[in-house]
Symmetry: C2
Subunit: 331 residues, 2 copies
């Protein structure tokens, strides 16, 4: 389902990252980074809460807003029962809407936030996501055999927190439209190859978005998927061509690839993933290019794999979903 917006602006964004992300090509563009994985906290889970809380503080500071200015806080993450978001919400002390859409959570949050602003139900909506590599490894891949190799198709959960303040006050970038994705089941069962699981969902959402608005990819300067990684990116290009006769190759990139230096950071395998991966790239790099008009309109399609370890152990298929946000440079 696609919705157009007239009055939804990106007022501020913020990015906080861990050491692996800081080694990547965008390192100088992040607002804050940590050198190890605990950030002074006693547990990895609490460290992830700190990533989100830090990003909230930074986004509000950049916008000259106080916590009390936030009408609604929308957040999600990969921890069971979205615990990182819940505990970050405790610190913010504002009305809280918890969401979950795996690594597509950020665009789900942005589109729900856009709905609140466009309908004038409120003035300031803060949307946050986080993920933490070691929290995700512990939770999704337990027991993680020490030194156990992973296939090259595996992706690497990014460590970071990212926030975006949406308001109706004119700024340099606006959310112009959004498309809510439909879950896709392609019969896939390999959690070590998420790119191939999620590529068809990205294709479905991009096609729906273009059809719903009567547009072609020529109406965009860039199509950006969330975290398909090196192999998923190629699959999406092929799939779009075969299934929808759309040639993405000239104006398409994937945030999971852009976040790291894949040739030198071998530990990230096929690329970055996690709800924060796409948010880190969009907020640190893409928004700035929209602000200075280097880019005019970008379709940001975060992609998520819907499953949990229990369902995988029970031989259920891994589903996927993608939600799209169209970001536009404001004249």
């Amino acid at each position: 389902m696609t919705t157009k917006y007239k009055n939804v602006y990106v007022t501020s964004t913020s990015t906080v990252v861990g050491p692996y992300e800081f080694k990547g090509p965008l390192s100088k563009r992040f607002d804050k980074h940590y050198k190890e994985m605990y950030f002074g906290k006693d547990s990895l889970e609490s460290a992830e809460v700190k990533l989100m809380s830090d990003s909230i503080e930074l986004a509000l500071k950049k916008a000259n807003k106080e916590k009390s200015d936030v009408d609604v806080f929308i957040a999600g993450d990969l921890q069971n029962q979205i615990a990182a978001s819940c505990y970050a919400a405790r610190e913010l002390e504002r009305p809280f809407v918890g969401i979950y859409s795996a690594c597509a959570t950020n665009t789900e949050g942005l589109l729900l936030g856009a709905n609140f602003i466009e309908s004038k139900m409120c003035d300031n909506v803060l949307v946050s996501v986080s993920s933490h590599n070691m929290v995700a490894e512990k939770q999704f891949r337990n027991p993680t055999e020490y030194g156990g190799p992973k296939p090259g198709t595996a992706t690497f959960t990014a460590t970071g927190g990212a926030s975006c303040l949406l308001t109706n006050a004119k700024s340099k970038v606006r959310i112009e439209s959004s498309t809510i994705g439909t879950p896709i089941d392609m019969g896939q069962t390999d959690p070590m190859s998420m790119g191939s699981v999620m590529a068809p969902a990205a294709a479905h959402t991009i096609n729906s978005h273009l059809n719903d608005l009567g547009r072609t990819i020529d109406d965009y300067d860039l199509i950006l998927t969330g975290d398909l990684g090196r192999f998923g990116k190629e699959i999406l290009i092929d799939f779009m061509k075969d299934e929808y006769s759309i040639d993405l190759s000239k104006k398409y990139n994937d945030c999971g690839i852009m976040l790291y230096d894949l040739d030198n950071q071998k530990e990230v395998q096929a690329g970055g993933s996690g709800p924060v991966a796409s948010a880190l790239v969009v907020y640190s790099d893409i928004i700035k290019k929209l602000e200075n008009k280097e880019l005019k309109r970008v379709l940001y399609v975060a992609t998520g794999a819907l499953f949990n370890p229990t369902m995988v152990f029970q031989k259920e298929n891994i589903l996927s979903i993608a939600h799209a946000i169209s970001l536009e440079s404001v004249e």
Copy 2:
């Protein structure tokens, strides 16, 4: 944050329950029930998916709608990564917004759905929740010692699926307003006493709702909390009196108590809980009383405990939240 709505109607609701709920006082009002806990499925987790899918089918059938009429499907549950909702969404094949607010998920879904309808972004929003007693026991209380006793303050996760179709077509009951709750931390750490954890969140949301709208509880025929249970109900009455000088006692009840026959169903201890508990009571009983004007306006305040087992093991406090929906009989 409180929002008023002019054009959001409850078009149909549905309830599907397990054997414990069917033994309770509302047994004849449920649309469908199962006699055991697997419903022909191979796993408890898939059985929960079936509860939600059954309720979706029933809600659409009652409204004479097809799956393809659903513009947006909003759903959440207690399974890690809201897996029950994701797999039910696979069967529905419609745009899906995944949400999580523990046992307050149903009112979060209803208020997001109301936003979509009120703002004319779409015509038909389906909101679903589920929970399954044995899935929750396995996931939250593993290892569950065989025969291990629980304190009387423990609540019993309800087994059921419930759905509500919201549209802008006039019906006998409408959503008149909503209030998004703020997470509350009262320093509590006992997962066997959720009523006391959640009562302060209910109090905070009820008070915000009344203040935001300039109303008193005299403007409602009934205040209904989600699943505080026998002890939580008493705590809320005391807390509202002490903290806000509001006397709830004359027009207040709790869905967790109404769902079971507490005197004879000893297994439910202090009462029912889970996202579906309040939905089962509201959709099977309260909506009907609003339809026949036995009740004119009801404040439905679903209550949730925000935590996960990892956070409890790490000695973090259990947080709580409550989201409110005001349901009104249409003239």
